[in-house]
């Protein structure tokens, strides 16, 4: 049933658009008319060594794309479609694919191995194609090298594609055996060896059992370490990649190898080519990541709660590791700071040094200080930069007691360097280091301030001056100012040392945003970020100046909207996003106190009309920022926001329909909540439309799952705003809540991410119930909720029994219990009395240490007592 498709496939790549279009239409038609025949034809094309490379390549690509998609809903559809095809046709396709692995064409082999993995990704979880692994393994031993390579690649792709639990241990053992044999130094063919190492990388997740077996683990580790010494650079790099993956997957199994690994990584860092050296450094960064996580879980003391103990590899390696890393700092590239994509050994080494400091704390300081003192004043810029970078790197981790005296000594030196060092690279790093000082050692939480009336003026003067420097230096100066302002956030009113310089700072930042030479750098973004932080941390004294900023930023936004027709580009959209973001921060700041809110309100109409115009642009980021800012404005405006609703509504609806940029959708859902709280019952005329959209969102399988919990919470917001008018939505909303509640009542030992998501979902559902019950309180229509009481109580009971709620969910759950009793009263008394929640759960919450939980529980107790006793 295969058809001749070569010519169509070639035409589909023709230069002539008309020819191409025609061929594409043909392919589409063929696929729609007879999918199995279409797929067999493609597989046949791919397998046929007499066909042109181009048609074979496209055949493979179309085949692959017919099996998988990045879009979740399409992927599910493709899986179902494949499973529904007659097995005899599928057998033909699979046979053709396996045969292609022996093709003399490298291109065809490589494509086939990817397609095989896709088919395996569908079939193995359904216990189909059981002979696949065995038939692949039979390839590995005798056949010519290219086929062995393709087969190993296929095994690697399969491991990447399927989850470990669908491959039985016997097959895992065989795969690993084949792979490790392929890696062995006795394998003469480098391509085969490389494919084997890359396959191991993907297969590591399958090797739990093997890594628990001493002999097998020793063997695997020995082979990997040997491969790091291969004369072939690609093999060495792939071998180090495996070590990095092992360091995070099997951290707890590394103790007996760590010494050897240090030796080989140190050698690679010193002598090997950069791609290999970078992986070697990454190994230690990855170990730091692991130990930081474990130590964080310890909470500072050894509790034994953590599943994995800390082996303190970094602490033990410290005397050797730190000098090795310091040496890398001297290998900077010229102009690395102007290159966004740069990543080199000095950057990797410095990053690793920072991670080491966070892992070991104080211990790193005496090992780094001599290097800094030795190099900080050297004529060679590389030495000065390296010393500064080292200092900046260790500012997070060690205790303030250790660092504050050093920072006090270094501060004026650094300020001088930022102002006067002849080298841009040094200035860049110096500004960054100042930012780190302010970030970690400046703020109300610290006993001894590093910034005082005496040096504050100088610091600001130097930073503002540096904002006129080359873009990369100016960007770091903005970053330093950001943290300088942040540290004064809690300074309390009137006492911020920034107050006298406020106007000057704001002016300088605005000047930076207008610089013509920002090019592709982040300078403009950094300037707005600093401005936002300065506004956030401002106090009553500077409120009038923040108020003046409203019209300034509005004017800027207006200008971008006017000029849009001339040149509509990404930079313009980015700028609109930044301006909306800045306005959002200002609105939130001014809205938080009565007198400044009044000032803000006189601009509300103009601000709103600007935001609405931003929606005309095509940029998701700008939409998102405008939406967030509107939420803040609605909150500040209150019921009067209703006057904007007629116009705003269609953008609200647009946002709720934006499945593709799900962040925009999620933010819009949150803004619906803001608007509900602002308008209260005045939202009613818009509720039909909003509810329809929200219900549609919930039933869609295209929408990212993270948006669903906020949608449930939003039901609660709406119900609370419109009260008993929510009646007409009950018949739709309640069944959705019920089925979602059933799904998330149990976590069933899911992974952490899933448990976290489940708790978010639970919280959303509970917030919906709270809002609905409270919305109906005191209404003659409360009895409409009676039929749902049983289910809600069961949901609460099952949550309690499950014992895996986090604090937020516990608080929401006990609150719902109170809301139910409060609204339904004595008619629900006996139902409530029958629930476990009203007894044990309530009791536990009453004695909770969390005062929010206790408060909700106290309240629930009163409403329950009332419901039961009258």
């Amino acid at each position: 049933m295969a058809m001749e498709v070569t010519q169509i496939l070639l035409n589909a790549q023709a230069v002539d658009g008309a020819v191409r279009k025609h061929a594409e239409d043909n392919l589409k038609q063929f696929q729609e008319q007879n999918l199995p025949s279409f797929l067999i034809s493609l597989a046949g094309e791919l397998a046929n060594d007499e066909k042109p490379v181009e048609s074979r390549r496209l055949a493979g690509l179309i085949l692959k794309n017919a099996l998988d998609s990045k879009e979740q809903h399409k992927k599910i559809e493709f899986v179902q479609r494949w499973l529904a095809i007659d097995p005899t046709f599928k057998a033909q396709i699979k046979a053709l694919l396996l045969r292609t692995l022996s093709s003399p064409s490298h291109d065809a082999r490589s494509t086939a191995s990817q397609v095989i993995a896709k088919v395996a990704g569908i079939e193995l979880p359904h216990k189909q194609w059981p002979e696949l692994i065995v038939s692949l393994l039979s390839n590995v031993h005798q056949l010519p090298a290219p086929t062995r390579q393709a087969t190993l690649e296929t095994l690697g792709y399969i491991c990447e594609e399927v989850s470990p639990d669908v491959v039985d241990q016997d097959h895992v053992n065989k795969i690993l055996t084949a792979v490790v044999q392929g890696m062995n130094s006795t394998e003469q063919n480098n391509d085969v060896r490389l494919a084997a190492i890359q396959a191991l990388y993907n297969a590591l997740g399958f090797a739990q059992a093997n890594f628990s077996n001493d002999m097998e683990r020793d063997y695997i580790m020995r082979i990997v370490c040997e491969a790091t010494l291969s004369p072939e650079i690609k093999i060495r790099r792939a071998a180090f990649e495996c070590l990095v993956a092992i360091s995070s997957t099997y951290y707890e199994k590394l103790a007996q190898y760590i010494q050897d690994i240090f030796t080989i990584t140190a050698k690679a860092v010193k002598e090997d080519e950069e791609p290999v050296a970078l992986q070697a450094i990454e190994f230690w960064s990855s170990i730091c990541d692991e130990e930081i996580d474990i130590l964080e879980e310890y909470g500072g003391e050894f509790s034994g709660d953590s599943e994995i103990p800390c082996y303190y590899f970094i602490k033990q390696a410290l005397p050797f590791l730190v000098p090795m890393l310091l040496e890398t700092l001297l290998k900077q590239e010229e102009d690395q700071d102007q290159d966004e994509g740069a990543w080199n050994i000095a950057m990797a080494g410095g990053t690793c040094l920072g991670l080491v400091a966070r892992t070991v704390g104080d211990d790193i300081v005496p090992l780094v200080m001599p290097f800094i003192q030795e190099n900080i004043s050297k004529p060679d810029w590389r030495q000065r930069e390296a010393a500064t970078y080292a200092f900046g790197s260790i500012l997070e981790g060690p205790s303030p007691e250790k660092l504050v005296p050093l920072v006090n000594m270094a501060l004026s030196f650094m300020l001088n360097a930022l102002a006067n060092d002849p080298n841009n690279h040094v200035k860049d790093t110096t500004a960054w280091t100042l930012g780190r000082m302010f970030e970690f050692l400046h703020g109300s939480a610290l006993d001894t301030p590093i910034i005082n009336q005496g040096n504050c003026q100088q610091i600001i003067a130097v930073l503002l001056q540096s904002m006129k420097d080359v873009p990369n230096v100016a960007e770091k100066a903005c970053g330093a100012l950001y943290f300088l302002a942040q540290g004064f956030e809690d300074a309390g009113s009137a006492s911020s040392p920034l107050t006298p310089f406020f106007q000057e700072i704001v002016q300088s930042l605005l000047t930076v945003t207008h610089r013509e030479d920002t090019g592709e750098s982040r300078l403009r973004t950094a300037a707005y970020e600093a401005l936002n932080e300065v506004v956030r941390c401002s106090n009553d004294d500077t409120a009038p100046m923040v108020a003046q900023l409203v019209s300034v930023i509005m004017r800027e936004l207006h200008q971008t909207l006017e000029s849009q027709n001339v040149s509509s580009d990404d930079r313009q959209n980015e700028l609109q996003g930044l301006l909306c973001g800045c306005l959002q921060v200002i609105i939130q700041k001014l809205g938080s106190s009565e007198p400044t809110k009044l000032h803000l309100m006189q601009y509300a109409d103009q601000i709103m009309s600007l935001f609405l115009r931003v929606f005309a642009s095509r940029s998701a980021t700008a939409h998102e920022e405008a939406m967030l800012a509107i939420g803040a404005l609605a909150y500040a405006t209150g019921p009067e926001f209703v006057k904007y609703m007629q116009e705003f509504y269609r953008y609200l609806e647009m946002g709720l329909q934006n499945f593709e940029d799900y962040q925009v959708c999620a933010i819009t859902v949150g803004v619906v909540g803001d608007v509900c709280r602002a308008l209260e019952e005045k939202i009613l005329p818009f509720c039909d439309g909003i509810m329809t959209q929200l219900l549609r969102d919930l039933s869609s399988n295209q929408l990212h799952r993270s948006v669903k919990p906020p949608i449930f919470s939003c039901f609660g917001d709406i119900a609370l705003a419109i009260g008993e008018n929510f009646e007409k939505y009950l018949q739709f909303a309640m069944p959705m809540l019920q089925s979602a509640a059933e799904l998330c009542a149990h976590t069933n030992g899911a992974d952490d991410d899933m448990t976290e998501y489940t708790n978010t979902l639970r919280n959303g559902i509970l917030e919906a119930y709270s809002g609905i019950f409270q919305g109906f309180k005191g209404s003659p229509k409360t009895q409409l909720l009676m039929p749902y009481a049983q289910h809600v109580l069961q949901f609460l009971d099952s949550l309690y029994m499950e014992k895996d709620m986090d604090d937020v969910v516990t608080k929401a759950a006990i609150g719902v219990l109170g809301d139910l009793a409060d609204t339904l009263g004595s008619p629900a008394g006996s139902l409530i009395q029958q629930s476990v929640s009203s007894k044990e759960f309530l009791k536990e919450c009453l004695s909770s240490d969390d005062h929010l939980i206790k408060e909700s529980a106290d309240w629930a107790k009163v409403t329950i007592t009332r419901a039961i006793s009258y």
């Binding site: 690649e153 690697g156 990447e160 890359q198 990388y201 790099r237 792939a238 990649e241 970078l278 992986q279 990454e282 990543w343 950057m347 990797a348 410095g350 990053t351 860049d428 790093t429 960054w432 970053g479 809690d490 309390g492 973004t525 707005y528 970020e529 936002n532 973001g581 959002q584 921060v585 939130q588 938080s592 998102e624 920022e625 967030l628 939420g631 909150y635 962040q663 933010i667 949150g670 909540g673 803001d674 709280r677 919470s713 609660g716 917001d717 609370l720 917030e767 809002g771 409270q774 919305g775 309180k777 005191g778 609150g815 409060d822 005062h851 106290d858 309240w859 009163v862 007592t865 006793s869």
Partner: protein, 414 residues
């Protein structure tokens, strides 16, 4: 299987400012939702009329007495918190809940009522907000302005932005030991408790006040301390305890609160005060020299039609002055007048006053804000003739064994 990208963030914060803005918004929304929820849970309706509880029934009298500015008629407690100066004084002057005097024993005292020993001293509202605490006497004037550990009652570093404007209002008695004894809670952290039962309010004040540290011993910065009053269920043992158990303050009678009653500005029959010599130094009214006069004295308000009325709502008439006497003595409607009760006494039929033997003494002291209430006059009259005794009260309550256990659900032992 291309090599994996190793790059880590370099000289960059891990979280972009946009992400921070997003997180800030989510936090703000979560906080607002929480506020809305709490608002719904505690504050079903805080709007109540300022005028209805104390003023007379609204009568169309347009020709005299310029009307109060109308917009102040309905203020909820949240708005009232923003009032300043004189407006605040006027508002607070009308907000205290005042008990009637107990002239007969309510039914079901045992199950439906709480009892506690009233501390002697100055009745006042204590309001904490915006980093300061203010106490206001019955007439709304300020007694003290001081820092306290009540929520937002003092300037501290850790005032969280979301709640710094929230305020709390306590109903207190300022005692001679420089302690504010809290007898009721009207508002807590911005949430009104007006529409909550006293059962709930007492429960709340018990669980919340101690958490703030306001009950800690006085210190350099916090020179006034707060204290809870032990509140009992009004059964035999509760009543005995309230009556005779030693307390840290000087008692001035017993207060009875109906468990199901909301907080209500003005005089309410759902709170009652009772006194005898054992539990109060001020059973019988004294004149302005501090002496108990031979004859009971009452203060009544002269009405337009010459009637002499109590301050109750609706007012109760005790008699009538004829027009010529009013003219002679240069009296006007609205005046508060002092009378003595003569030999003829008060004659009641079915609980209603039939006749009162009143002797005009003169105008009342200027400090008086209002006439006496009917219950006060009657209580004072009874004290002189046939007082309600503690044994009568004890006789009307059952011992705890008789009761269903559920009324003990909430224990109020301070």
């Amino acid at each position: 299987m291309a090599p994996h990208d190793l790059r880590r963030p370099f000289k960059r914060p891990l979280i972009s400012d946009q992400e921070r803005r997003r997180q800030h918004s989510l936090l703000r929304q979560a906080q607002n939702r929480l506020d809305a929820q709490r608002h719904a849970r505690f504050l079903a309706s805080t709007t109540f009329s300022l005028s209805s509880s104390q003023n007379l029934e609204p009568q169309p009298e347009p020709e005299h007495e310029q009307e109060e500015p109308h917009q102040k008629e309905e203020l909820d407690v949240l708005e009232a918190s923003n009032l300043k100066g004189d407006e605040a004084r006027k508002w607070f002057a009308k907000q205290l809940m005042h008990p009637e005097w107990m002239i007969d024993i309510p039914e079901n005292l045992t199950n439906d009522w709480f009892v506690f020993a009233r501390p002697s001293g100055k009745r006042c509202f204590v309001v904490s907000s915006n980093g300061t605490t203010i106490s206001r006497l019955r007439n709304g004037s300020i007694l003290h302005r001081f820092p306290s550990k009540l929520p937002n009652g003092a300037r501290t570093k850790e005032v969280s932005s979301s709640s710094s404007h929230s305020y709390s209002i306590l109903d207190c008695i300022f005692h001679e030991d420089q302690t504010y004894y809290v007898i009721d809670m009207v508002c807590w952290r911005g949430y009104s408790l007006y529409d909550c039962t006293s059962e709930f309010r007492f429960f709340w004040v018990n669980s919340k006040l101690a958490e703030t540290g306001a009950c800690d011993p006085p210190s350099y910065y916090h020179k006034y301390t707060f204290s809870l009053v032990p509140v009992y269920s009004c059964d035999q043992s509760g009543l005995c305890s309230a009556y005779s158990a030693p307390v840290s303050y000087v008692k001035d009678g017993l207060l009875f609160y109906n468990k199901h009653a909301h907080y209500q500005a003005g005089i309410t029959p759902l709170a009652l005060v009772w006194k005898d010599e054992n539990c109060s130094q001020y059973v019988m009214d004294t004149d302005n020299k501090g002496q108990v006069p031979n004859q009971q004295q009452v203060v009544l308000e002269l009405q337009e039609d010459g009637k002499l009325a109590t301050c109750d709502d609706p007012p109760m008439a005790f008699g009538c002055l004829d027009g010529s006497f009013i003219q002679q003595s240069d009296l006007h409607s609205g005046y508060l007048l002092r009378f003595a009760i003569g030999e003829g006494g008060l004659v009641l039929a079915d609980g209603k006053l039939e006749k009162a033997d009143l002797k005009y003494l003169g105008k009342a002291n200027r400090a008086r804000a209002s006439a006496d209430s009917f219950s006060k006059v009657m209580f004072q009259y009874n004290v002189r003739h046939s007082p309600l005794r503690i044994d009568d009260l004890l006789g009307s309550v059952s011992s705890p064994v008789d009761q269903e256990s559920e009324t003990c659900d909430i224990e109020m032992d301070g």
